[in-house]
């Protein structure tokens, strides 16, 4: 579903943030990316969404190479990519359902949606996505009144409303309590399998990776250190990720 080949990013100051990254992820696969601070995890996601332009390599999403596209073509191709963050990034003053429905704006460009109206045809779908994340009863509530875990679920429902093929998650549970974190991870795992979405999830919590990931990828200094199925990861290898570079 998503294939990265030789993906590299060199900042203008010469620092190599990502070097020669190869990665293939199939539909329905749940991949967790581990690595220390500044290892390039978030940069990897930002490259995939083309928030920053990689200096080399290709990002194949289905048949198209995102790196070769610009402007409107890139926007269209990117519709298949959804993302969630550590913070749910909801519009706090609008209702939960409205927030979910805005995930569908990208393929519903009409005068009505341009002026702040919701795409009417998407509301039923939005409700079903809310039901899928277990919050159907909160549809009319203001997003600002939700707890952290609930808000993150709404953010996931908004991502679903985008009908993505790939879901990128940048430390989605970093500001949640352990129980809510487990909930979100279970949800992501279930969505990957049930909706056949390829999920790439950057995490700091090693234990969650062991518990939920199909595959775990280790990054250090912008390079992939390992790419293994859950069963084959050695704790030693993970531990090495977080050690400072030997002098």
């Amino acid at each position: 579903m998503l294939r990265l080949r030789g993906l590299s990013l060199r900042y203008p100051n010469g620092k190599l943030a990502l070097s020669d990254f190869d990665l293939t992820i199939a539909a329905g696969e749940f991949v967790v990316v581990l690595g220390g601070n500044g290892s390039g995890k978030t940069t990897l996601l930002r490259c995939i969404t083309r928030t920053v332009k990689p200096s080399a390599g290709e990002i194949r999403l289905g048949e198209v190479d995102l790196c070769a596209l610009e402007g409107e073509k890139l926007r269209r191709a990117r519709l298949a990519l959804a993302m969630i963050w550590q913070h749910p990034s909801l519009v706090r003053r609008r209702s939960v359902l409205t927030n979910v429905a805005t995930g569908a704006l990208g393929r519903n460009f009409t005068l009505r949606t341009a002026l702040g109206g919701l795409p009417g045809a998407e509301l039923d779908a939005a409700r079903s996505y809310l039901a899928e994340v277990g919050l159907a009863n909160l549809a009319e509530q203001r997003a600002g009144t939700l707890s952290g875990g609930q808000a993150q679920r709404v953010a996931i429902a908004r991502a679903l409303a985008q009908r993505p093929k790939v879901l990128l998650a940048d430390e989605p549970v970093a500001s949640l309590d352990p129980e809510a974190a487990e909930d979100i991870m279970r949800l992501l795992q279930r969505l990957a399998r049930a909706e056949r979405i390829a999920v790439i999830c950057v995490l700091h919590q090693v234990e969650l990776a062991y518990a939920y990931a199909d595959r775990v990828i280790g990054i250090k200094d912008g390079r992939m250190v390992f790419d293994l199925p859950r069963g084959q990861i050695s704790r030693e290898a993970v531990h090495q990720l977080y050690l400072p570079e030997a002098a």
């Binding site: 702040g116 908004r158 985008q162």
Partner: protein, 272 residues
């Protein structure tokens, strides 16, 4: 050894005393300077308190002639009152229409280009720097006497405050939901109408209500330069020495200003 330490301490104490004396001297000079600035203000405005005392008879006479307020004129004040409030409403509306797009360009986190940013900031600053009375005189020259130039003047002058505060509100906004919307593939105008506007609408309304209150007060004064409304009626009554009508108009102005302030404050309270 102990002698050395002692002499050191004496030396240190001496330096400290010096510094304190210097500080005191600087403070004295600054205080004198402040007093001098205030005194020159009295000289420049040619303040003569004794004139106030000798003039008190004239003022008393004026007040006596203004009493009682001529309430029989009340019906004739109705229309100018409506006009005054409407000039303010119109001006505020025009202000919003101009200020909102300018604010989008003048908010550092949203502006499409540095050039647009500085251009918008420049326009906003200029509309504020030119007083509303001057704008009114300009528009009276352009479109003739009446309430229309008054409304235009308030509108353009409002841009100065509305534009700046709108832009500041946008700059302080939480950008995370905006970036999230951009990444869902929403187009620019959708991001604006679904992300930016809902996030800042209450603040914008609050600012607007505050401006409306201010515009109502300005609208009263604008009548003096021929822009219609109750200010114009006040000027006419004064020129005709109709002091009882003047006192009535002052009462009405007082009610309008106080009413606008209370209503604006009340609505803003409910918003937050």
């Amino acid at each position: 050894m102990s002698l050395d330490v002692a002499s050191n301490r004496v030396h240190g104490a001496g330096a400290q005393a010096w510094r304190r004396a210097l500080n005191n001297a600087v403070r004295c000079v600054l205080a004198l300077l402040g007093v001098a600035i205030l005194i020159q203000a009295f000289i420049v405005v040619q303040a003569r308190p004794q004139d106030l005392v000798t003039g008190i008879h004239g003022m008393a006479d004026l007040i006596r002639r203004a009493m009682p307020p001529d309430f029989s004129q009340l019906p004739s004040t109705f229309w100018p009152t409506v006009q005054t409030v409407d000039i303010a409403l119109f001006g505020t509306l025009v202000g919003i229409v101009i200020a909102l797009p300018l604010a989008l360009l003048a908010a550092a986190n949203i502006t499409p280009s540095r050039f647009a940013y500085y251009a918008a900031r420049g326009i906003i600053g200029f509309t504020r720097a030119v007083p509303d009375l001057v704008w009114a005189l300009l528009f009276v020259t352009a479109v003739g006497l009446g309430p229309f130039p008054g409304g235009l003047a308030l509108g353009v002058h409002s841009v100065g405050m509305l534009g700046r505060l709108f832009a500041e509100t946008m700059e302080q906004m939480d950008m995370a939901p905006i970036h999230a919307l951009e990444l869902t593939g929403a187009r620019r105008i959708q991001v604006f109408s679904h992300g930016i506007i809902p996030s800042i609408l209450p603040s914008l309304l609050g600012i607007t209500l505050y401006r409306l209150d201010e515009n109502i007060r300005s609208s009263l004064v604008l009548g003096f330069v021929g822009a219609g409304g109750i200010g114009f009626q006040l000027l006419t009554a004064m020129n005709l020495f109709q002091y009882q009508e003047v006192s009535l108009l002052l009462i009405i102005i007082f009610v309008i200003v106080l009413g606008a302030e209370r209503i604006s404050a009340g609505l803003r309270e409910r918003l937050s």
